[in-house]
């Protein structure tokens, strides 16, 4: 399969001022990530707050510059391109954010919001613009009377539809979806997920789908990567990852996720204590070791590398061959079972 995006040893740190002594320190938001995206697939990125998901998404679109590493988009090295040389990439990519009310300009009506990407990319003909806007509105399930409205005059679900329309206005290849349904209610979430899945099929889009919700990720993703503290700890095809979860962190993350089916209620969950560590001074060795019940000497000293533990199933853990967590994993197998 052809790779649309390839990322190698990607790092991004942010310099933050402050702290007790006013010293500035490095926040290592993304700290050595390797990944690829196949054309037309959805790659899910799961992980807890602050693990670097949004930063990774913004790096892939080159909305920010990496500290080091390499990013290829359709076989072009975009790692260090200047903003002027990135215009073509802007056209071929889009992004949708978690909170639509914050990502839409409150002073711009829907028409201007949708017109803007076209104008920025030099489309001036009024008829072309109008036609394209109407076409997109239809695609995302809005109607023409909503064009003159402002974001606060439409519901959260409709705002997210506008944000999606804006992201696909220029017919992109790749869309980064950053928690696109996290702020929405279940009934609205279902409508938006259906829309995203349909658009992907119709327009042959590639998605990087960021979320902390495993149940959503299971439904939309072809492959999943699990991030922790700026690193990828495990990645595989969705069915493999849920059917044969190996990394202790992934198992604890999945075990902690409440599953909306009382028959899958489990008293036998793998819950770890503690909280995610600081990104300024991440733990030495395996970043998960302070919370991992299996941690031993080596884990505290040597950082485990991402290795292929089964076919196309990568993980970073020294002890995966000894640890057997399958009893905790079995309930995820049933995620497909009908409720009623």
């Amino acid at each position: 399969m052809e790779h649309l995006v390839e990322v190698q040893d990607l790092k991004k740190s942010f310099l933050t001022k402050g702290g007790i002594f006013g010293k500035s320190s490095d926040v290592k938001a993304v700290d050595g990530v390797d990944l690829y995206l196949n054309k037309g697939e959805t790659l899910g990125v799961v992980g807890e707050s602050g693990c670097g998901k949004t930063t990774l998404g913004r790096l892939v679109l080159r909305l920010i510059k990496p500290t080091s590493g390499k990013i290829n988009f359709d076989e072009v090295d975009i790692t260090n391109l200047s903003e002027r040389k990135l215009l073509w990439l802007r056209k071929r990519t889009g992004m949708v954010f978690q909170d639509p009310s914050a990502s839409l300009n409150p002073r711009m009506n829907i028409r201007s919001t949708l017109k803007r990407p076209l104008v920025v990319h030099g489309i001036k003909d009024k008829n072309t613009i109008q036609k394209r806007i109407i076409e997109m509105l239809e695609k995302v399930g809005l109607n023409e009377d909503q064009l003159e409205r402002f974001p606060h005059q439409i519901s959260g679900g409709q705002q997210q539809r506008v944000a999606i329309a804006r992201a696909i206005m220029l017919n992109p290849d790749l869309v980064v979806l950053d928690e696109p349904t996290s702020s929405l209610d279940v009934s609205v979430q279902a409508q938006i997920l259906n829309l995203l899945l349909k658009l992907q099929r119709d327009l042959n889009l590639t998605y990087l789908f960021i979320t902390h919700d495993l149940v959503v990720e299971r439904h939309v993703s072809d492959r999943i990567v699990v991030m922790y503290c700026g690193k990828i700890l495990e990645s595989a095809d969705t069915d493999e990852l849920l059917g044969n979860t190996m990394h202790p962190y992934t198992v604890s993350l999945f075990s902690s996720t409440p599953i909306p089916n009382p028959h899958l209620k489990s008293t036998n969950r793998f819950i770890v204590g503690g909280e995610p560590p600081s990104l300024i001074h991440p733990p030495r060795g395996c970043r998960f070791h302070p919370r991992c019940p299996y941690a031993e000497g080596k884990c505290k000293k040597v950082e485990p590398k991402l290795v292929e533990a089964a076919k196309d199933h990568f993980l970073a853990c020294h002890k995966f061959e000894e640890i057997d967590l399958l009893t905790y994993v079995k309930r995820f197998w049933k995620l497909m079972e009908r409720l009623n």
């Binding site: 807890e48 279902a190 997920l193 259906n194 299971r218 604890s252 409440p258 009382p262 409720l339 009623n340």
Partner: protein
């Protein structure tokens, strides 16, 4: 006999835009020693229901009618002085965002000890002992040092634990937890809820868990009430509601969940959008979105009836 019996609760807000019928005739009961979930989408009236039971509704809001019987006393009728004794000692509430309820200028130890010191007339030494015990109960390590910390140095999970310690400080019989973990990560959420369950068992208290997350309902709830437009439309045991939902809205919601579907297939959905709380539909408020809607649904409001044992539903389809 239930611990709490809410009947026909109506709480409106008189705003410039119009009358917001936040809670519009909600009824349910909470039994002793159970986790009762109140679930529904944004704006359906979950928080206002809880605040009404606590009598924490202020103008332009007003509790218009209804009863909230707690140990045979109507909380909506008793004098404010008595209500103050109920708050904290009998019924406590944990809010969604702990930072808004913790005071930044006092140590957490002080804040945890404040209420019991007043309620039980404790000496300084007794209060400190009680406080550090509580901090240990909510599994914060190093209680003596932690008690001297200010809220801003704590992580989100620690703050929510502190809140729980505060809420438990007077030994309530009923804990109302309004989205207690929404702002937390799932691994921390699991820790906090496991802790809640453990404490609930140990102290034999009841919990009203307010959430929009059906995962939490399935994982932690005993019984559940589904709210729509300020009303309770269905109540039952958690397993019954998931296995055999009756109300068209409940059925719709459960079909929206991306579970039990082939990957990337189309999910069920509920047509239309939530109505404005100022302009709620006549009759059954779900009728504009309901596939079974008939003429009488538009005219007459369905009553909450016991369709089968312990399974209540408000829908004309089930009236006999």
């Amino acid at each position: 006999m239930p611990l709490l019996d809410v009947k026909g609760l109506k709480t409106y807000f008189y705003t410039n835009r119009g009358v917001v019928k936040a809670v519009d005739g909600a009824s349910f009961t909470v039994n002793e020693n159970e986790i009762f979930c109140l679930v529904g989408e944004t704006g359906c009236g979950k928080s206002v229901t809880a605040l009404s039971i606590m009598r924490l509704i202020f103008p332009p809001g007003k509790i218009l009618s209804g009863k909230a019987l707690y140990k045979e006393e109507d909380l909506l009728k008793i004098p404010e002085s008595e209500m103050q004794k109920i708050r904290g000692r009998e019924i406590s509430m944990v809010f969604q965002n702990p930072m808004n309820s913790l005071n930044p200028v006092f140590t957490i130890g002080y804040q945890i000890s404040e209420a019991p010191t007043v309620h039980f007339n404790l000496s300084k030494k007794e209060a400190w002992k009680r406080t550090t015990d509580l901090i240990r109960d909510v599994k914060i390590t190093d209680a003596d040092t932690r008690a001297k910390c200010y809220p801003h140095v704590l992580s989100g999970g620690m703050r929510q634990r502190t809140m729980m310690a505060m809420m438990l400080s007077c030994n309530p019989n009923l804990l109302i937890a309004d989205e207690p973990t929404t702002s937390l990560d799932v691994t921390i959420q699991a820790q906090i809820l496991d802790l809640l369950i453990e404490i609930k068992k140990k102290r034999r208290m009841s919990v009203i868990l307010i959430t929009h997350n059906f995962g939490l309902v399935a994982e932690f709830g005993d019984r559940v009430a589904v709210m729509y437009c300020g009303k309770v439309v269905e109540i039952g045991d958690v397993t019954t509601i998931f296995r055999n939902p009756l109300h068209p809205y409940t059925r719709g919601l459960l079909r929206c969940l991306p579970i039990g579907y082939k990957r990337k297939s189309k999910l069920g959905f509920i047509p239309g959008t939530l109505p404005s709380p100022i302009d709620t539909p006549s009759g059954c408020s779900f009728h504009p979105r309901c596939e079974h809607s008939t003429k009488s649904c538009k005219l007459r409001e369905p009553e909450l009836v016991e369709y089968e044992k312990n399974h209540f539903v408000a829908c004309h389809l089930y009236e006999r």
